[in-house]
């Protein structure tokens, strides 16, 4: 059984009387430990698919199973809890909280767990070590470069050891060098720590770093 099983997934948006189909009857399996890239033209529904996998949105029909658990039928409240345990999300714009330090930003997901203060601190330091920012724990986002901010974003995504890491154009706002560092980091998370990663990207060079590239076009997935 695959880690993620998507079956007959359909998502349509309704704008006034107009129905906009985005994803149509989509099937997809993601194996544990896989590093998958998702490509496709703008507006093809990549972010929509990623958001559905992350449990941020409800599908119109079809099912998503993660570790055998049906995600598509959960209530918003159940989804929030599920997300906190199973999903690490990496944003294109990093989306760190500007009023919190790197440490505090990374700690945010752990506040939802029952970990003690000391356990939380250990986890946060481990994560920041992995992304190479052990010396930046007390820095605020405005004191960090874009690449460093994204690495804090990655530390935040991995700190609760989630089942799935989902990244929506993680290098989209970075220059080639910083983007490359981020891709190397994602590769390491996959090879060294066995993380399952789905990454949306427009950049073919970034996609080449993954194991599998899927193309989404007109609501249909192809290899």
């Amino acid at each position: 059984m695959a880690l993620v099983e998507v079956r007959g997934l359909t998502k349509t948006y309704q704008r006034d009387a107009q129905v906009i189909p985005v994803l149509e009857n989509l099937d997809l399996d993601i194996e544990k430990g896989e590093f998958m890239a998702l490509m496709g033209p703008s507006g093809s529904g990549k972010s929509t698919l990623l958001n559905l996998l992350a449990g941020l949105d409800h599908p119109t029909s079809g099912s998503i199973r993660v570790e055998g658990q049906e995600v598509s039928g959960m209530s918003s409240r159940q989804l929030a809890t599920w997300r906190s345990r199973h999903v690490g999300f990496i944003f294109q714009r990093y989306n760190l909280l500007p009023v919190l330090t790197a440490f505090q930003n990374v700690e945010l997901p752990l506040l939802l767990t029952s970990l003690s203060k000391k356990e939380r601190r250990d986890h946060v330091h481990t994560s920041l070590n992995v992304v190479g920012l052990a010396d930046r724990v007390d820095h605020y986002p405005r004191q960090l470069s874009g690449g460093q901010e994204q690495r804090v974003g990655i530390a935040r995504a991995i700190v609760s050891d989630p089942t799935l890491i989902l990244a929506d154009e993680p290098t989209g706002d970075l220059d080639a060098v910083a983007g490359d560092e981020i891709l190397t980091l994602l590769e390491r998370l996959n090879s060294e720590f066995g993380k399952t990663i789905v990454m949306v990207t427009h950049d073919p060079r970034a996609a080449d770093r993954s194991h599998r590239i899927m193309h989404l076009e007109k609501g249909v997935l192809t290899r």
Partner: protein, 379 residues
């Protein structure tokens, strides 16, 4: 509690805005505590009036006199232990704006009926033996720098002319609701110097048992119903309260101001909270993406609003308490004026309500925020 740091960080985000909001709540609650204390002090004064003393006045109004002949008839009433009388003098010392209470009392009977007004025995003896002697409150002594033995002259407003007095004693009030800025002297002096124009302003009756008050009061008023001057008799407490009903509209007025301040400050606080929350729409969406539930986010936004208004409220009411517990000119204007603990409690409750109301809309918005749409707006 682990989320406290998040709330705290948000409060520090825009320090100037947080401080200004806190201060505006503080000013409003200071005003509230002050207005409220005017009312509680008035009500308190009404409550300490004795239940075992009756006051008999002319039915028409307290400014209309009663005949002296009533004295013996009142004394003869069943249940009445002692009777005294007094009259309003309304004298002015130098500046008419600088008001204080001055009245003439029947010295033989007045002091025994008012044990709460203490005069040192040797001073009282000196007073009793001198026609123009006066007994004065400590507040007034301080205000004008008077000393016992000083000669002072008041100008009469009701009984014209200059009225020379010699201060022979200083009283002390043993309850805080008795004015410590009164000026009292012999009724006989008033009567003689006014060419017998001055009569009795009001009678004070000491009862043997407070339970008799309603019956005795009714019997008195029935007795004098068809006399030259009909009477109105009530317990001292009720009498004080009737003075305060003149303030009744003041109470309404103060409440209206308080309500207006409440809504003004609610709008200020609500506006700040909405602005603060709107700036953070993306951050709220991110927290939700991380798994923060709707209720938790609601609580975080609410806590922020409540902390600001509670802190402001605390500053405001405590400032009022401290300011008015120190000796101020306010004290002589209204004896016993102070901000009570119930007023402080009420003020804090109001501050909390303002916070919760101000935080409600932004907190609901945060809780209901659709994550995907909110992230799309910026991502």
């Amino acid at each position: 509690m682990k989320f406290a740091r998040l709330v705290w960080a948000n409060l520090r985000r825009n320090k100037r805005r947080t401080i200004l909001t806190t201060l505006s709540v503080a000013v409003a609650l200071f005003l509230f505590a002050t207005l409220r204390s005017v009312l509680t002090t008035l009500a308190g004064a009404a409550e300490v009036g004795s239940e075992t003393r009756l006051i008999t006045t002319n039915t028409i109004s307290i400014v209309f006199p009663l005949p002296q002949s009533y004295y013996e008839r009142l004394r003869a009433m069943e249940g009445v232990e002692a009777v005294s009388w007094a009259n309003w003098f309304g004298g002015v010392y130098r500046d008419p704006q600088d008001f204080f209470a001055s009245f003439a009392v029947d010295s033989d009977t007045y002091w025994p009926i008012y044990p709460e007004i203490e005069v040192p025995p040797e001073q009282l003896r000196a007073y009793m033996g001198e026609r123009t002697a006066a007994i004065v409150g400590p507040e007034l002594m301080k205000r004008y720098g008077w000393k016992v033995g000083d000669r002072v002259s008041l100008r009469g407003t009701i009984y014209p002319g200059d009225w020379p007095f010699t201060i022979r004693g200083v009283y002390r009030a043993t309850t805080k609701y008795i004015d410590e800025a009164s000026f009292m002297f012999h009724w006989d002096y008033l009567y003689e110097k006014s060419d017998r124009q001055a009569d009795v302003g009001w009678y004070i009756l000491q009862l043997s048992d407070p339970a008799l008050a309603p019956a005795v009061a009714k019997r008195i008023d029935d007795t004098f119903r068809n006399s030259s001057a009909s009477t109105e008799t009530a317990t001292e407490r009720a009498f004080q309260a009737s003075f305060i009903t003149m303030w009744g509209n003041v109470g309404f007025f103060l409440n209206a101001i308080g309500l207006a301040v409440f809504f003004a400050i609610l709008l200020v606080a609500a506006n700040t909270m909405m602005m603060a929350a709107r700036e953070r729409t993306t951050e709220h969406a991110v927290l939700k993406a991380l798994g923060y539930g709707d209720r938790l986010l609601f609580g975080i936004v609410m806590a922020e609003a409540a902390i600001v208004t509670l802190l402001g409220g605390l500053i405001g009411v405590l400032a009022a308490r401290l300011l008015f517990s120190a000796a101020t000119p306010f004290d002589s204007w209204m004896p016993g004026f102070s901000v009570t603990w119930p007023t402080i409690g009420l003020g804090l409750a109001i501050a909390l309500v303002i916070g919760l109301m101000a935080g409600l809309i932004p907190a609901l918005q945060a809780a209901r925020l659709p994550v995907v749409q909110a992230l799309r707006r910026v991502a």
